[in-house]
Symmetry: C2
Subunit: 488 residues, 2 copies
């Protein structure tokens, strides 16, 4: 132990061990290294680097890349920030591009929140929760109760709240898909609770396999774990999957039979390229109607966010979760818990309102909104397809067809020589691959080991948000060279 | 146990017991009841209520009350939300009220964050942290390192992070002033760590009494508690105190001798009515210079926020903390922890930038900024004084002169009859008083029991943010009647 360590109150050996255990690869070593490369290039010191731009394909950060904000959202937000503009004729007569519905929406939101600089109710402003409830009703065809909708600082904050409530002892377990978005395992680690992993079925487009889930639950039970909840990410992160109605029915039935809270992470619900999005809430209500009684006990928390989809406003930290079937005393504890952090960012709440209540046909901003929305969607689909086609051509790479979300998660078959080289470098084999890729091309991916994967399999996750397709070519070229260099 | 309870996964008896233990009175029963009154009045159904407005003197929420946002901040924010405005001549020529420095600041901030809808680095955008560091350097006359400044979603989120790192076991203790802002006790409860309370000295303007702190630490040690940190709130919440240089020196020396992290909650640093604000960072550096060696080991986290002061932008959830003297491995764990929640709201980060880098003399927006800032300050001071004078006139009420922050925290002497009536109603005596006040006048305060107080003493906390002075008269009138009704 160094002298300094001895002198301080805190050192690596005496801080919260559960924080130490947590892992969050999306912003880990690779991300930090890529930021260093970016800074080097910005400072004009990158002349000996083999690339001239860094491509951040590691994080679903749409507006850091090509995605433009939706004009309607931002025009309203600018009026909320500076309500003095509402007094100027230029704004009201439209020469600045502000349409009548923009002005009206801003006035209405201001009447709901008073000022975006003021705290709102801890669960979010009532009028905004009302708009969210109406959105859910339109989406699902079933009623939604605004008093059970909690606005949050992105979906991450909602997950954090829910896991805080659920995780009662070190023996509490939560079923988490593998691969998963590492927020779940990281939060469970911090809360000193147990992750009960269940593998998704790569061969079946990364769908849920009920036999696998059952076996995971049974194994946890044998180990004395009290499993309380099951997490589903649909559309899938990092997998890019989109679950079928039957898969969702099976999961809900399994949850009902085993008394598990269903945490449905549905933040990618508009990023759907194959088929259609089925919400857990709708399918639960369908099941409740079909089989009265059996599903009454199901507790569902369904999460959504302004960060993804065509909105892509992740920097604004907005989201919501709807609680269905929860005990009212438990809801009161959720309220108290969120009140300790006061309230979610109010401008983010306002963007939640606009996401769930966008301009509709006949309103002045509709046409532009529709065009921007569709263009973003088509752009994402095009790049997803280009990337998928490129992966299909690569030696030793297998990739599922992009069905939903913003990611592809191909398998890579690595040679023993590559695996040994990784080991010698004290890295996981796919991390080794991704580091080499970053050093050679400036393209930053996240290794599959950051999300969890079946033992002995290797993957990486890439977003398809970065503009252009040049960087796909960089990956193809690197891959060929890597495979040649590490041929067994 | 009800049938429903049996059927669900979660009930009040099996959720996280540490969340249940947490108390957060600022948004508790009284706040909820006051919101119900407000809704009743809004719906036009309040004709049988004895008041026609609700006065929220319970929460430091400046812009929900009288305080207007600073124009410069909001003009820049509106351009950040809608950068298309930057292309309009009307904006650049100033007819909308946008001065040249507003446009320049917006352009610079956009170049730093790219889009306010994009994630930033988890610790905040580098350029913004640079501005914060320069602010600290100007304030203290000592260097500040941007790589040790963490932007946060309000100071609350910073406190949450720091306590997560510090609280290693159920036996970890943190010294917390009594009375305190309940974020501290609530967070320690959720983290299953120990609050080591130390009483502030009401007779000495709610200052720190080192003998009392020493005794608290010694008692905790006897109980086997491993005390790791000391929290100081300066200027004081709920007390309205402002610590002297000597008091701060004593606390730092005590922390150095006892190897304690100093958590300096300095969110009210510009709300100073008597004397001058002394930052812990400056005084630590002074001490380090005066006595080389002795203070090298001090770990200081100093927190600030955009929520209070003349900024009052709490709905935007922005803040920062500076880490001084922390072990680098511990800092790496802090970085990882904050990365799990991705990043603080970016528009809030931009307001942190403007708070720490406001217009200066010679710049176009300076005059207006100065005038707005001074007017808010004078308004707060005037109302603080009016409230203080009113309290001094009330029977059985004693109040310290307002020195800092946004609160007064008078003692009330309650009769045995009032105490008995409270007991019969299953309420703490000061909670009983505040509920009666709310029912009679619509004025919402927070009882002293929500912050902690010496046994047998009773207080309430009131902000002095609400406009006008009519509501002060309501309290005076109620108090007279209450004292008469419950005369022993």
């Amino acid at each position: 132990m160094s002298t300094t360590t001895q002198l301080r109150s805190l050192n690596i050996d005496n801080i919260n061990p559960h924080v130490k255990t947590a892992e969050y690869a999306v912003r880990g070593l690779l991300a930090i290294k890529s930021e260093e490369y970016r800074a080097t290039l910005k400072d004009g010191k990158g002349s000996d680097l083999p690339f001239d731009t860094v491509i951040s394909a590691n994080i679903g950060n749409p507006q850091q890349l090509d995605q433009k904000p939706i004009t309607f959202f931002r025009q309203v937000a600018s009026l909320l920030e500076n309500p003095q503009l509402l007094e100027h004729e230029d704004v009201l007569t439209g020469s600045l591009g502000y349409k009548k519905d923009v002005v009206e929406r801003a006035k209405w939101l201001l009447s709901e929140v008073n000022s975006v600089g003021a705290y709102s109710q801890s669960m979010g402003a009532p009028g905004i929760r009302g708009s969210v409830a109406k959105f859910i009703e339109r989406r699902d065809g079933y009623p939604s109760d605004p008093s059970l909708i909690y606005l949050s600082a992105g979906a991450s904050s909602g997950v954090n709240t829910l896991l805080h409530i659920i995780c009662a002892t070190p023996n509490t377990g939560v079923l988490v898909p593998i691969p998963q978005y590492p927020l779940y395992t990281a939060s469970l680690a911090v809360l000193n609770a147990k992750c009960v992993p269940y593998n998704l079925d790569e061969e079946k487009a990364w769908g849920t396999n009920l036999d696998v889930i059952k076996a995971s639950l049974a194994k946890a039970k044998e180990e004395g774990i009290d499993t309380r909840a099951i997490v589903i990410i649909n559309p899938g992160n990092p997998t890019g999957a989109s679950l079928s109605e039957q898969e969702i029915k099976d999961v809900i039935t399994f949850a009902a039979e085993n008394k598990l809270v269903v945490m449905a992470d549905e933040v990618y619900q508009t990023n759907i390229f194959i088929g259609k999005f089925h919400s857990f809430k709708k399918i639960l209500r369908d099941l409740q109607k079909e089989t009265p009684g059996k599903y009454d006990n199901v507790e569902l928390a369904s999460l959504h966010s302004i960060s993804k989809g065509m909105v892509g406003e992740c920097g604004h930290r907005g989201g919501y979760y709807e609680l269905v079937g929860f005990d009212k005393d438990v809801v009161a504890q959720i309220y108290k818990f969120v009140s300790i952090q006061l309230c979610p960012p109010v401008i983010g709440q306002c963007i939640v309102e606009m996401m769930t209540h966008p301009p509709v046909e006949g309103e002045e901003s509709y046409e532009l909104y529709r065009r921007e929305y569709d263009n973003i969607f088509e752009g994402l689909k095009k790049r997803a397809t280009a990337l998928y086609e490129a992966f299909r051509e690569m030696e030793g790479v297998k990739c599922q067809e992009p069905a939903g979300s913003m990611y592809l998660f191909p398998t890579i078959t690595l040679s023993q020589k590559a695996i040994d080289a990784a080991k010698a470098d004290d890295k996981a084999p796919d991390e080794f691959y991704c580091l080499k890729l970053l050093d050679a091309t400036g393209v930053c991916l996240v290794p599959g080991s950051g999300f969890g994967q079946k033992d002995g399999s290797y993957h990486f996750r890439t977003t398809f948000l970065a503009p252009g397709t040049d960087w796909v070519g960089r990956i193809t070229k690197f891959h060929k060279e890597f495979m040649a260099e590490y041929k067994d």
